[in-house]
């Protein structure tokens, strides 16, 4: 097991290098560069001056060097865990990520907990009452929710629930303007009140997938021999379902949790834009639109790294949850 993990960790290095090269190449190949995008197609500056200003700024950002040199400099810095400075913000990329990450994590953690808390019981109920009313209705409902674009739903929710006459929820942000003056509990209520709509938009589409996954696993197991044996032993229905079938069918559910790691980090551009929450998604989006290369590269590298770690964790989790899987045989 240990050798396997070490080997996988070593394999990550060339993979990460590959990711960075591809992201680097693509970001440089995209039309425009940070300076010309910031300057527009010339503005009202005369030609010679515009060219000088452009040259000065390119030099300042180190963009005047050949692309491969830039990549060399970048990779050298990253080896020392320094992602460089954002061109737009003039600040270390890592600081920007540190500022945004808690916001995205809060949103995503709550959403994932809700998705799991609702999907798993729903999946079990659907499987137990297969092809019965509840199963059918929940399938249709969840598929309908799944197919609604969150962009549209978010806009509708803001349009109908956030202003007069209803005024149920705040239309933007994560807390009220004067939230600092609140004591703890009103503050918490205020924060939760602000979180309702974005969290709803992040979760509603996620139920379908997980519910179906749990349902399929449960159905497989409910039909299995050991369940029949358990029933034959005279165990009660609930004990059979929860102690036997459910514990076995939860394996895929646990393992896909590992892939959530990068998703937690990524954030949702659409939701963050609609609800004016400035998290990782907006940071990455802004960086891409302004060609803020260092931020793009930083976010992509960290996301890539987390992806790889998540996949590794998924493999390890398989082995841990399911004794039938062992990595030793690879040796």
């Amino acid at each position: 097991m240990t050798t396997y993990i070490i080997r996988r960790l070593l394999l990550m290095i060339p993979t990460l290098l590959g990711i960075t090269i591809v992201v680097f190449a693509i970001s440089r190949a995209a039309p425009g560069d940070p300076v010309s995008l910031a300057m527009g197609p010339g503005g009202m500056m005369d030609a010679q001056r515009a060219a000088d200003v452009r040259a000065a700024r390119m030099r300042l950002y180190g963009l005047d060097k050949p692309v491969y040199t830039q990549f060399g400099i970048w990779i050298g810095r990253v080896a020392r865990l320094n992602f460089g400075d954002s061109i737009k913000h003039h600040r270390p990329v890592i600081d920007l990520i540190k500022e945004r990450l808690p916001i995205t994590l809060t949103l995503n953690l709550i959403s994932f907990i809700i998705i799991y808390a609702i999907s798993i019981p729903m999946g079990i109920l659907s499987a137990v009452g297969r092809k019965k009313f509840l199963d059918r209705v929940s399938s249709v409902m969840l598929l309908m929710l799944w197919s609604l674009p969150s962009m549209w739903v978010g806009q509708m929710l803001i349009g109908y629930l956030c202003g007069p006459p209803l005024n149920w929820f705040p239309p933007a942000g994560l807390s009220s303007n004067d939230a600092e003056q609140f004591p703890f509990f009103p503050w918490l209520v205020d924060r939760l009140w602000h979180l309702v709509l974005p969290v709803f938009c992040l979760t509603y589409a996620g139920f379908a997938y997980l519910t179906k996954l749990v349902r399929a696993g449960m159905l497989d197991n409910l039909r299995a021999d050991y369940v029949r044996t358990a029933r034959a032993k005279g165990l009660s229905n609930w004990v059979v379902i929860f102690r036997h079938a459910f514990r076995n069918s939860i394996i895929p559910v646990i393992t896909i949790m590992a892939t959530l790691l990068p998703a937690m980090f990524g954030g949702s551009i659409i939701i963050e834009r609609i609800f004016s929450v400035s998290g990782m998604g907006l940071l990455a989006f802004e960086a891409v639109t302004t060609r803020d290369y260092n931020v793009v590269m930083g976010v992509a590298t960290i996301a890539g790294f987390l992806n790889l770690i998540g996949l590794l964790l998924a493999d390890i989790a398989y082995a841990m949850v399911d004794p039938r899987i062992s990595f030793e045989s690879v040796e």
Binding site: G43, A172, I274, N307
Partner: protein, 581 residues
């Protein structure tokens, strides 16, 4: 196990590839967002400082800046910005100028600014300012009683520090430093007086130098330029508000500077929020989360006639003289179609601009400009009226120019070339597309085929730079006073902003002469002549210029619309209506 691991790796790479592909797609897609910035950038590159106008004599110090503001003290103004600024230093070169300046304008002050009701300068930090008769020496004398918010007096050392910082090549302010390239050297006379010596005469120099906001040396002093570039927050200036805090992604809070040297504004705090979704922004206003916003044209057109809305909110529509500008369609004179003045004039006659204002802009106060300058400014010649909508005249002009439908296919042609041209637009703004469609229809009825050629922003900008278009529409930003050199001088045809290849020796001479004429009346007379040439030649069809629009909570009183815009410092909320404490 090996096979499985191979399959696993395959999926891993596939997954990564998809992620990268999505990244790329989002890069390309998101350029659309940039279209909006286009207009802003065009506007702002031209105007990082107030434009200059020669002052005959320094104004007396009894200027209106010492008048107390009326009304009760207290309450906050919660104002939404269109984006979160990246820094609170007002001259670092970062694209989102406008939202940053809305914040920093409360913290930092320039030496010289415009009178709110007159096209004339007044001193803010400067007690006296003047420009020598030969135009080469600019003199500033700072006021005696001015202090930074931390109590330090403002001296010429701070002016010199600010100037040196902006022009330091390692500071990321090249775009702004460009405005000070005419400065040869400066001379500190004493702690309050300074002279700048210029390399050449230029009518905007006083405004550029005077518009520089002053930074305290004892706080901003740096050894390594990186330090300065990275310092984005905790600004300290002389202004009526001081920085309180910045919750990243949520709000910037300024509180009133209780030690302010001038009359203090009545509103105690300004909170800037960053709601990016325009629907949410309006809902936030309606539910009282924000007090002040800039609506979309559609939102304004809808709410301005809504009596219920107007009971709770001011609908402000005003001409902001530091934010003028116009939308245009440029006809590339390097192309065979538009080399002839008659054809360009015909194009203008074909387009029903009144209809654009009425049905597309839905703004009854928008105007059709007849030239390059701010329509209510002194550079603009009020006697020049825009060409009327007259399709018959257009057809006649096209016939005269030799564009006649010889082969009877419904499209005019000349020397065997059909009149079919590409009209390039930026794909992202619905407004541009709507106008383009109207132009296409109008042209078709006159026997001209227009092919719409939309591109996303970065490609569009590149193509404009490379002059790869027959016709193009864009917007220029403007200011009370403009130097048309960059857009209209023939030297700017290759690489400057003269995209349409406008080449008129008479216009060149007028532009050059006007730049060096310090007397405003003489200079404006030259610009009026230039204006006439533009009108006759129609290198652009000038489509519209429009006022700024704002929604503001009704509890704010003393909201005055000045000739040059609005001044938030005059506002107050009566005690009984105050919302925040």
């Amino acid at each position: 196990m090996n096979g499985r691991s191979g399959l696993f790796k395959f999926f891993l790479f596939l997954f990564l590839f998809v992620i990268i592909l999505l990244q790329f797609l989002s890069m390309v897609q998101s350029d659309r967002l940039y279209k909006r910035l286009n207009v802003l950038i065009g506007r702002l590159e031209s105007a990082p400082s107030a434009p200059a106008r020669r002052t005959e004599k320094p104004p007396a110090d009894k200027s209106s800046i010492f008048q107390e503001y009326p009304g009760d003290e207290g309450d906050w103004l919660v104002r939404n910005l269109e984006g979160e600024p990246a820094t609170l230093c007002d001259f670092l070169a970062i694209s989102e100028w406008s939202s940053r300046w809305i914040v920093t304008g409360n913290i930092f002050e320039p030496m010289v600014e415009y009178e709110p009701d007159e096209f004339k300068f007044r001193g803010r930090l400067a007690e006296k300012f003047s420009i020598s008769d030969d135009g080469l020496v600019i003199y500033f004398k700072l006021r005696d009683n001015i202090r930074f918010s931390d109590g330090h007096p403002v001296t010429t050392d701070d002016v010199i520090f600010t100037f040196n910082t902006i022009t330091d090549p390692n500071i990321d302010a090249a775009a702004y430093a460009n405005y000070f390239r005419d400065v040869d050297h400066y001379e500190k006379i004493n702690d309050k007086e300074i002279k700048f010596y210029m390399k050449r005469v230029y009518f905007l120099s006083l405004g550029y130098l005077g518009g520089m906001t002053i930074y305290p040396e004892h706080i901003y002093k740096y050894k390594d330029a990186r330090e300065f570039n990275e310092r984005r927050s905790n600004p300290v200036g002389t202004g009526p508000y001081v920085f309180e805090k910045w919750d990243v992604g949520r709000q910037i809070v300024l509180r009133r500077n209780e030690n302010y040297w001038g009359p203090k504004p009545k509103v105690k705090k300004i909170v800037f929020t960053f709601i990016t979704n325009t629907t949410a922004e309006l809902q936030a206003l309606l539910s009282g989360q924000i007090d002040y916003m800039r609506p979309m044209p559609d939102q304004y057109a809808e709410k301005v006639n809504d009596e219920n809305f107007k009971e709770d909110f001011h609908c402000l529509s005003y001409w902001d003289a530091s934010n003028t500008g116009y939308f245009w369609i440029g006809w590339n004179e390097a192309r065979p179609f538009f080399a002839d003045r008659k054809v360009r004039l015909a194009m203008t006659h074909i387009i029903d601009r009144e209809a654009i204002l009425k049905h597309i802009l839905r703004n009854p106060e928008a105007q059709i400009p007849a030239g390059h300058f701010y329509i209510y400014g002194k550079q603009c010649d009020p006697n020049i009226k825009p060409w009327p909508y007259d399709p018959e005249k257009a057809k006649q002009l096209l016939d005269e120019a030799g564009w006649v439908d010889h082969d009877g296919d419904g499209i005019r042609d000349k020397n065997g070339v059909p009149f079919r041209f590409k009209y390039m637009i930026c794909a992202d703004l619905a407004l541009h597309e709507q106008i383009a469609k109207l132009v296409k229809d109008a042209a078709a009825s006159a026997g001209i085929e227009v092919i719409l050629d939309p591109y996303e922003w970065s490609v569009f900008a590149q193509k404009v730079k490379d002059r790869e278009f027959d016709a193009v529409s864009m917007a220029w930003g403007g200011n009370v006073e403009e130097d048309p050199y960059q857009v209209w001088h023939s030297s700017q045809r290759q690489k400057g902003s003269n995209y349409v290849n406008f080449n008129n020796p008479q216009a060149d001479a007028l532009i050059e002469q006007a730049r060096q004429t310090l007397d405003p009346d003489k200079r404006n007379a030259l610009y009026h002549q230039f204006n006439r040439i533009l009108h006759e030649e129609q290198p652009y069809t000038f489509i519209y210029t429009r006022p700024e629009q704002r929604f503001l909570a009704k509890r704010f009183n003393n909201v005055i619309i000045h000739k040059l815009g609005i001044d938030e410092r005059e506002w107050y909320v009566p005690k009984e209506l105050q919302k925040y404490k």
